[in-house]
């Protein structure tokens, strides 16, 4: 079937089977491999994307469900100049990245949180990340990076 939606702020139309997941649509049909496949049961969050402003596990979304809707993936997260945005740069600066496999999902979770709660506490950040597993970092520097991003964005708004 033809699936038409907005992907990273660009309209796309892609012919794909109707019984695949959004994750498979992104990875196998659109070759956007930043969203990772790691459990396919919605437990690990490595495939996290933002669907109409909500963080979702793309492995649990049927591809046709995104018709007419807006999907943001890690490939759509960047600064206006094309470089890393402030969240991504903070992940680098705070040492939040080790093996990096969970990191696209973590950044999507961080961005989704700040869309709804621009000034979260550390505990609120931890709760927002609870659906994203990381085996390397112990989460602490990821929380640091998201907290720093929230604070710097708040300063810019002020």
């Amino acid at each position: 079937m033809l699936i038409q939606f907005t992907l990273n702020n660009q309209p796309v139309a892609v012919e794909a089977p109707s019984d695949i997941t959004l994750l498979a649509l992104l990875r196998d049909h659109l070759r956007l491999t930043g969203s990772k496949e790691a459990c396919e049961v919605g437990e690990c969050g490595a495939c996290s994307v933002i669907l109409d402003g909500e963080l979702v596990n793309s492995c649990l979304v049927a591809a046709p469900q995104v018709s007419g809707r807006s999907v943001i993936t890690i490939e759509g997260v960047r600064a206006p100049d094309g470089g890393p945005n402030d969240m991504q740069q903070n992940f680098i600066s705070y040492g939040a990245v080790q093996c990096g496999f969970c990191i696209p999902g973590m950044i999507m979770a961080g961005e989704a949180l700040l869309l709804k709660n621009p000034q979260p506490t550390r505990q609120q950040i931890r709760v927002a990340l609870a659906g994203n597993l990381c085996r390397c970092t112990g989460y602490q520097q990821i929380v640091d990076a998201i907290e720093a991003t929230a604070k710097s964005r708040a300063r810019q708004r002020a």
């Binding site: 990875r27 070759r31 956007l32 491999t33 930043g34 969203s35 990772k36 496949e37 790691a38 459990c39 396919e40 049961v41 437990e43 690990c44 490595a46 993936t73 890690i74 490939e75 997260v77 960047r78 890393p84 991504q88 740069q89 992940f91 680098i92 600066s93 705070y94 040492g95 990245v97 080790q98 093996c99 990096g100 496999f101 969970c102 990191i103 696209p104 950044i107 550390r122 950040i125 931890r126 709760v127 990340l129 609870a130 659906g131 994203n132 597993l133 990381c134 085996r135 390397c136 970092t137 112990g138 989460y139 602490q140 520097q141 990821i142 929380v143």
Partner: protein, 777 residues
Amino acid sequence: MTDYRYIGKPIDRVDALEKVRGTARFVGDYHLPGMLYARCLRSELPHARIVKLDVTPALQVPGVVAVITSDDFIDHGRFGFPISDLFMLAYEKVRYVGEGIACVAAETPEAALAGTKAILCELEELPAIFDMEHALDPNAPQIGPAREDGKHPNFLGHFPVYDGDPEAVLVDCDAVIDQNYETVMQEHAYIETEGSLAIPTVEGGVLAYVSCQSPFIARGHIMRTLGLGETAARVINPPVGGSFGGKDDLNYMTAGQVACLALKTKRPVRMTFSREESMIASYKRGAMRMRVRVGADKAGKLRACHFKATYDSGAYSSQSPFTSWRASIHAMGPYRYDACTVDLTTVYTNNGFAGAFRGFGNPEVYAGIEQAIDELAEKLGIDPLDFRLQNCLRLGDTTPHGQTLTESVGLSDCLLAVRKASDWERKRAAYAHQSDPDRRRGIGVTALFHGTSLGAEGTDEATGTIEIHQDNRVTLTSGLTDYGPGSRTVYCMIAAEMLGVDIQRINIHLPDTNLAKDSGPTVASRSTMLGGNATRIAALNLRQNLDYAAADLLGCEVFQLQRAGESYLGPSEEPVPWEVVVEHARRMGLVLSTFGRWSAPKIHWDEEAGRGVPYFAYHFGAQIAEVEVDLRTGLTDVLNYYAAHDAGKVIFPQGAYGQIYGGVAQGLGYALYEDVDYMDGYLQSINFDTYLIPTSVDVPEINGSFVETHYSQGPFGAKNIAEPAMVPVAPTILNAIAQATGRRVRKLPANLERVLLGETLHKKGSPVSCKVALKSV
């Protein structure tokens, strides 16, 4: 104190940008035109003879291009070090549920799965053994390879340490603890599952992208089992999505399988595992059962330790001979004794198989000894932290192995650091008297030593290369992999520091067997010391050539040279830019590519006598956990965590702290949740919905710190950190739970039932989920 420009300073990780942008290409992200997908037929029985294996029906399945079995490899693909008991695909027998039997390459993953189902595979079930205590019974079914020395085939090895006669001392002690402790298997749970991609080369060889720890070992196995020359097999490590010891032997099998299929089909072949396949097929941290007896006198002097344990390696030896040895060396903990015996026996069973996992046997033995030490302190009425301070290894002490510690022993300082950071005395006293009937707090401590690098397990050296290109970029290679801890960044920092150039000039290749030099395995937290020293020496060799060029250019002696930023200064000249010096070196005909090899100091171990110098240096550390236990449910909440580690000089701070935080998190899972539960050989948790690893709300804010003793042989004084951070976490949390509840949990994990009831509720298992998963996409 030397003032460094990069060493010990914050720096951006060199491979982080591509990872935060989602552009890093992990194996599963590769797509090549004409690429085939591989899938293994895996055993659904824990122990069976392969009576019939006919792959021809699979070849009739639409989309299936090729099928291989052990017959497609030289010597049936036998491999493994130090004991060669593994096969690229099962030969004659299967010994665990999930063992690969045949491998199909097809146009689509679905066709590959259909191909595995079409294979005619007849298995004759054999009696199996699941209880390590009965593995060596005379009538136990044979799991391990046949032996000619008359020993039981399920006997894998005996690993002793002998220092005097602890029996004689124990009878003399004022207080003795005699307790049993038990750990269970742990899943690595790297977020990226296993995967390999092989591409046939024009000269008849194979190029493999393998998500593994040691590319040279992967290449060696491919060469030997497929009959390829050294240059005909090339292995590259793409970014590796976590490993923790886990992307070793099993992924060498996937590499061998796709390499074989690529040669056979003359097409690229990729295999990536589902989470279920990963958990069912992969090796684990081994389970251990321990009896620990420790004794002390009234004044709190530790006098004797007798540690006896059985270790379950499952169906294959993999790294268990080495993990068992490391475990035996550390089983008495970081203390002085009058006498000590360690007696560790490792056996084969049909419980999956055990191999390398962060800490390499030490999280297991520390779960025993560091609880026993706590119980002994309690019996003596001595504060457990004071008891450790009184007895811990210090500079100049001789260990129970007979090794005198001559430098870099920061253990007592680590204990003092966590005592202060945690407000230990106040909390320990306060938590001794609580009245809340529902919630109780506790605080617990442990002390740690952990040998650096391989130890007397094997030859220990590494080689790095460095080259200045025509455009003046500097490129490094290392044969060691960075699967997360940050060694690639460490090497770039060291090279920039030694050359006196901006780190932005430095690039490092992905590990590639055609570019880098064999540096042994990427294991044992050895990358910073071994690879770091190799890089330092390579850069020093290059720096020497540039210094000659600079002195020649500036008309002075080398010793008169100074640096201002990157530029060189002579006694009377203006600054000369680094590029000009490089260009002058070229004109002088000096080589601008060098290498450096570093061999670890000589050590030795006598396996019979159980004595020697097992490691050239030790990491030391101390950790404190503060918990709150809900007495109504048994739920343990880790409120605060304090970890102080003597890793020598810290080179890459964000990376080093990341190792503490990540190690504590992984240990927290080991302590409280993680249980690889084999029911009659069938894994009961095969995905993250039932195998729980810590989330961001389970892990507390961690107070990490470093005691930076200088180690003379380490690069800039550095030692190691990756494994040790995880090693003592479980007993630290268990010791805190014991204070909170007044009751010991001596079997891991301390889940709700064990904390609340002191026992595990019987839960009937089932083979169904394993069997279904092995047949699903």
